[in-house]
Structure formats: C-alpha cells, structure tokens
C-alpha cells in the first residue's frame, strides 16, 4: 500500500510541512489519511492554531494590543 501512512507518520508530516514542501507522494498520502482518520485532523488543527498564533505574536500584536477593548479604561 504505497499511500498508507500511520498516525505517527502523519504527525511527523504535518509538523514537517511547517518548514518544507512535502514530496507529492507524501502530500497524497497525507490527504488520503486525513479523510479516513478522526484523530489526525485534530492534530492538524492544533498545528494550524499554533501557526496563526505565532503570526499574531511576531506582528507584535502582543496581548496588550490584541485585546484592546479589555484595557480601555473609562476616562
């Protein structure tokens, strides 16, 4: 089964994808696995949350700025 991957292998691929483009064979295997598995899409969502949060963090939307409404003191 050339496109069969275990969850453990998929975990490593989802992480690797943050830093490099995967070979086409791995991309195909990944998308097949994601359609059949319930646990791996949950892992993928965590990684996407980390990616989004990192982007906000490096754009200096530090907590003070990210939630301005909470800090606005009534004059």
């Amino acid at each position: 089964m050339p496109f069969h991957r275990t969850c453990k292998e998929v975990t490593a691929l989802v992480i690797a994808r943050e830093d490099r483009q995967l070979p086409w064979r791995e991309r195909v295997a990944l998308s097949i696995h994601m359609k059949l598995c319930e646990a791996c899409p949950a892992f993928e969502r965590q990684v996407i949350t980390m990616r989004n949060a990192m982007r906000q963090w490096r754009n200096y939307e530090d907590p003070d700025l990210a939630v301005p409404d909470q800090r606005k003191a009534p004059n």
């Binding site: 453990k8 690797a16 943050e18 830093d19 965590q46 949060a53 200096y60 907590p63």
Partner: protein, 194 residues
C-alpha cells in the same frame, strides 16, 4: 515639560527597553548578547530619529532594528548558537511522548483546543505560548525563533549558522512538537474562563 505633554522620542524609546529585552533574551538565550543587541538597537534609533517618520508604530520600528542586530549577533556566534550543550532530554524525539497503538494509530485523539487565537482567550493563549517557547532547550528555541519570529528561511538559517537542512529540520521538528506538547498540557488542561 508639563505632566500632560507626550513623552519625548527619547523617553518613549527608553520605555520600550524592557519590551525589547524580553524578545532579545527569548531569541538569543544569552543575557549578555541580549543586552548588546538591545543597546545597539537603542543607540541606532537615537542616532537616526529622522528614520522614524511615524509611518509605523515606534514599537514595530524598534523591533525591526532589533531583529537586524540579533541576526548579526547570531552570525557572529554561529557555532555556539547551534551547538549549545544538549542534555539527553533535548535529543529525545517528542514524537515518542505521544501515545500510539502498536499499529501506529493515536491511542487518544489530540485535544480540541478550539480557536483560542481568534477569540477573547487570545491574551491567555499568547501568554502560555510565549512561556512554552521560553521553555524550549536553547538551541531548539533559537532556531525555532529564527524561523518564526525573525522570519528567516531554512536556506538563510543554514547559511548563517553553517547547518545542513537535515540537521535544522530535526531541531525544528523537536521544537514544534515540544511546543505543542506544552500547549496541550497548559492550555487544554486549563479550565476555559469566559
């Protein structure tokens, strides 16, 4: 100066010193280097106030300068940066911390974190993420932040620090999985507060 007047350019820069130092320490993992990077940033900013034309926030302008100073320092200390003494723990693959069944499937599905980066819990999530990043082993932390915070490409990091891509990928894989494990523990375990 009356108490109500806006702080001077110089004062505003001095006020941001601690903020800059926090990032420099997080990235460099070396107090002396961090102090150097921040001092050089402040001096450069004070020397060229005309370069800051209110185009951007003072904070982002300074962070931009700081990133350049940090890259210079990382290059200068190349070997030390990527070969800090590693403990045995640093060399474990965090993939082994995740419980898989014999056939390689998850024993327990990863937790649903929700979308904390998009909602009001953002503040809390960012604080935990920053603390977790700070807890990464030194080399992993530096390389991870060179990617995520300084936004260098894999090619640039390899060139600057004389690393092979394979070596860098291994370190980034460990850093990302460690960060995830730390968030899973500290974010998901935390009761959701309104």
């Amino acid at each position: 100066m009356t108490p109500t007047s806006a702080p001077s350019f110089e004062q505003q820069i001095v006020d941001l010193h601690d903020y800059l130092l926090k990032f420099a320490r997080l990235q460099l993992r070396n107090h002396a280097w961090a102090e150097d990077a921040v001092s050089e940033t402040v001096l450069a900013a004070l020397a060229k106030p005309q370069a800051f034309e209110q185009r951007s926030q003072l904070k982002s302008w300074l962070v931009g300068i700081l990133k350049h100073k940090i890259i210079d320092l990382l290059r200068q200390h190349g070997r030390e940066v990527s070969t800090s003494p590693a403990s045995d723990d640093d060399n474990t693959d965090p993939l082994e911390w995740i419980a898989y069944q014999a056939d390689g499937h998850f024993t327990e599905a990863p937790a649903d974190w929700g979308n904390p980066e998009q909602d009001l819990r953002n503040h809390q999530f960012m604080a935990i993420m920053e603390a977790c990043t700070n807890k990464l082993p030194a080399t992993q932390g530096r390389l991870f932040l060179m990617r995520e915070w300084v936004e260098l490409s894999v090619e640039e990091i390899c060139k600057d620090l004389n690393l092979t891509p394979t070596n860098l990928y291994v370190q980034l894989h460990r850093a990302r999985l460690r960060l995830r494990a730390c968030l899973e523990l500290n974010w998901f375990a935390k009761p959701v507060s309104p």
